[in-house]
């Protein structure tokens, strides 16, 4: 942004302030002013959104999402190249040990803040694109820890997956029902406690008993879960963290039979 003309930079700063103050009238007026300068507002907006999500600036992210809407930016492009890019940036920093969970959480809140504004505009296009793969996600029975699971959900959503979030303390049978109902591509189970790890093989056994184990990929994760444990209980993977989970599934889904073949 530093190479932009001074006048443009000045308006961007004013827009930041208006966004932080949640002053919608000022945002509208300043957006028009920015357009009038002839600057590439689309590129500026997408870059701003990515940086604001990365920094967890919820109000400012919402403000700049309003800018995106006002200038007629495609909502999917705003989501993928703006909001989700910011989430990926902070996800990478987390993977490299340069960021901590609270930073992921506030980034996630910022992303969802922007997504809330985009959602009504995206619904209209629901039938036009290809259907995203569905992931049934939840924390296993007996464990109420939500944060890790929610971060995985956020990063999966940011990467275009449709997440069916069952919440926490989810009985094994609920995972199976939800996978069948949504014709899921994957099930993602999380637990923070050693005391509830045994719920994971229970879900895997139920999938086998129901004859649908080969219809879904199973990801398991959480502090006590290791790759060895995942393989021992017959899960497909235990990603190291939320960002790796999204990356792994994004790649794995290409080699997995499509929904129509698996579920008929």
């Amino acid at each position: 942004m530093d190479d932009l003309p001074e006048e443009v930079q000045g308006i961007i700063e004013e827009l930041d302030e208006a966004a932080e103050d949640e002053d919608e009238d000022a945002i509208e007026e300043l957006t028009q002013k920015l357009l009038d300068t002839g600057a590439d507002v689309e590129t500026i907006t997408l870059k701003k959104l990515a940086l604001l999500v990365m920094d967890g600036e919820e109000e400012m992210t919402q403000g700049w999402t309003r800018v995106a809407i006002q200038i007629g930016l495609d909502p999917f492009k705003t989501l993928i190249e703006g909001l989700a890019t910011g989430m990926s940036l902070i996800g990478k920093k987390y993977e490299n040990g340069e960021a901590f969970v609270p930073q992921l959480l506030i980034a996630s809140n910022a992303m969802y803040g922007g997504m809330d504004l985009l959602a009504p505009l995206m619904k209209r296009d629901e039938n036009s694109g290809s259907k995203p793969a569905t992931v049934v996600i939840g924390t296993v029975e007996g464990d109420v820890h939500d944060i890790g699971k929610s971060l995985v959900k956020t990063l999966l959503s940011a990467n275009g997956f449709n997440c069916v979030d069952l919440g926490n303390d989810v009985p094994a049978s609920r995972f199976i029902e939800a996978a069948k109902e949504s014709k899921a591509t994957a099930i993602s189970m999380s637990t923070l406690m050693t005391t509830t790890m045994a719920e994971m093989p229970r879900v895997l056994k139920m999938l086998s008993d129901e004859g649908i184990r080969d219809k879904v990929m199973v990801m398991v994760g959480g502090a006590p879960i290791t790759t060895e444990y995942a393989s021992q209980i017959g899960a497909d993977v235990s990603p190291h963290d939320a960002a790796s989970a999204a990356n792994w599934l994004k790649a794995a889904v290409f080699d997995f039979p499509p929904e129509s073949v698996r579920w008929g």
Partner: protein, 344 residues
């Protein structure tokens, strides 16, 4: 060569940085299914019946051979006594807190000590002190950052922990929560020490770098733990501090709280943290799951790794898993005794 000690003498000597006859074996939570069944206790009654509680937790000392007897079973007592919703779990799943307050002013604690679960802890301390005078009677309590997190919700704690570093107003908000938590901590600590607890074992699980920023821990967590720890010391009681996850970035802060002992989990390298902690004894850090499915070789290996790394007490990295088996617990205690005979 140190003369043979009782379990209590051994634990207190370790916390006082004095020589021991063998390395103490201690634990945090002790809701072990096998012992619940063996003692004839019934779920969920053993959470609110002092006699059942003592009959169960004392088996960790009398049967498995650990040096401390720890009560209560889980980290929900403070929350349930304050009126938060708690799901009682199962015989093999610990109770968990399910709701939170919106504002610190909503937290009412005038009648905290009248709550039946708090009373059970207090009565269990008295009873176990009477029945097992040679064991280190230990109260398992929730430390201030974690209690503040239970009061406001863990996710809110995590988010506020970063926002408070950025904005003074948010820091004030954080302090309001911490102050309420500390008030409750002190009421409970005083009652436990009066009842005869030899040691207070505080878990500050939510102060972990896995949940909050290390900067936050240093700025807010350390002063809060120190304030509570000083209060406990003034009551004449030693205290231990446990924090979950990879605590390497905050171990220096943990050591500066004045805690008599630190407990760390398997995510840290023992030799690294004992070096940073310096004089402060560190306990740990055996993978808890080994008590459920570990082989003798694995258990012995984990015990020796931790002790070779400088641990002054042998402890599981986190609570004792409910499905732990008594034979594995005994293997653990034996491995510590063997190491002590060889190396002390």
């Amino acid at each position: 060569m140190v003369a043979e000690m009782t379990s209590k003498e051994r634990v207190l000597a370790m916390l006082d940085k004095k020589p021991v006859d063998r390395v103490p074996v201690i634990t945090g939570s002790t809701m072990v299914k096998e012992y619940i069944e063996k003692s004839g206790s019934v779920w969920p009654d053993y959470h609110s019946n002092a006699e059942m509680m003592v009959n169960t937790v004392s088996l960790m000392h009398t049967d498995a051979g650990l040096d401390n007897i720890v009560m209560p079973f889980g980290m929900f007592i403070e929350s349930i006594a304050l009126g938060l919703e708690v799901k009682m779990g199962r015989i093999d799943i610990q109770p968990s807190v399910r709701s939170f307050f919106n504002k610190p002013e909503e937290v009412k604690y005038d009648n905290f000590l009248e709550d039946k679960f708090v009373k059970t802890t207090i009565d269990a301390i008295k009873l176990s002190k009477e029945k097992f005078p040679d064991a280190a009677i230990t109260a398992f309590l929730v430390a201030p950052v974690t209690l503040a997190g239970d009061l406001m919700g863990a996710e809110n704690l995590s988010v506020l922990s970063i926002k408070c570093l950025q904005k003074e107003k948010q820091m004030q908000k954080m302090h309001e929560w911490i102050d309420v938590a500390l008030e409750i901590n002190k009421i409970y600590a005083e009652a436990c020490v009066e009842a005869g607890a030899d040691v207070l074992y505080y878990s500050d699980a939510s102060a972990s770098p896995n949940l909050v920023m290390p900067e936050f821990y240093y700025e807010v967590g350390v002063p809060a733990e120190k304030e509570l720890g000083d209060f406990v010391h003034n009551l004449g009681c030693p205290w231990e501090l446990h924090i979950c996850g990879d605590t390497t970035p905050i171990i220096e802060g943990m050591a500066s709280t004045g805690a008599n002992g630190l407990s760390v989990e398997q995510a840290v390298k023992m030799s690294e943290v004992t070096k940073i902690a310096g004089e402060v004894p560190v306990a740990g850090n055996i993978t808890p799951l080994l008590m459920v499915e570990g082989t003798e070789e694995q258990i012995t290996g984990a015990v020796r790794d931790a002790l070779d790394g400088g641990a002054k007490a042998s402890m599981l990295g986190c609570g004792t898993p409910p499905l732990s088996t008594s034979d594995r617990l005994k293997t653990w205690v034996k491995a510590v005794a063997d190491w002590s005979a060889e190396k002390l």
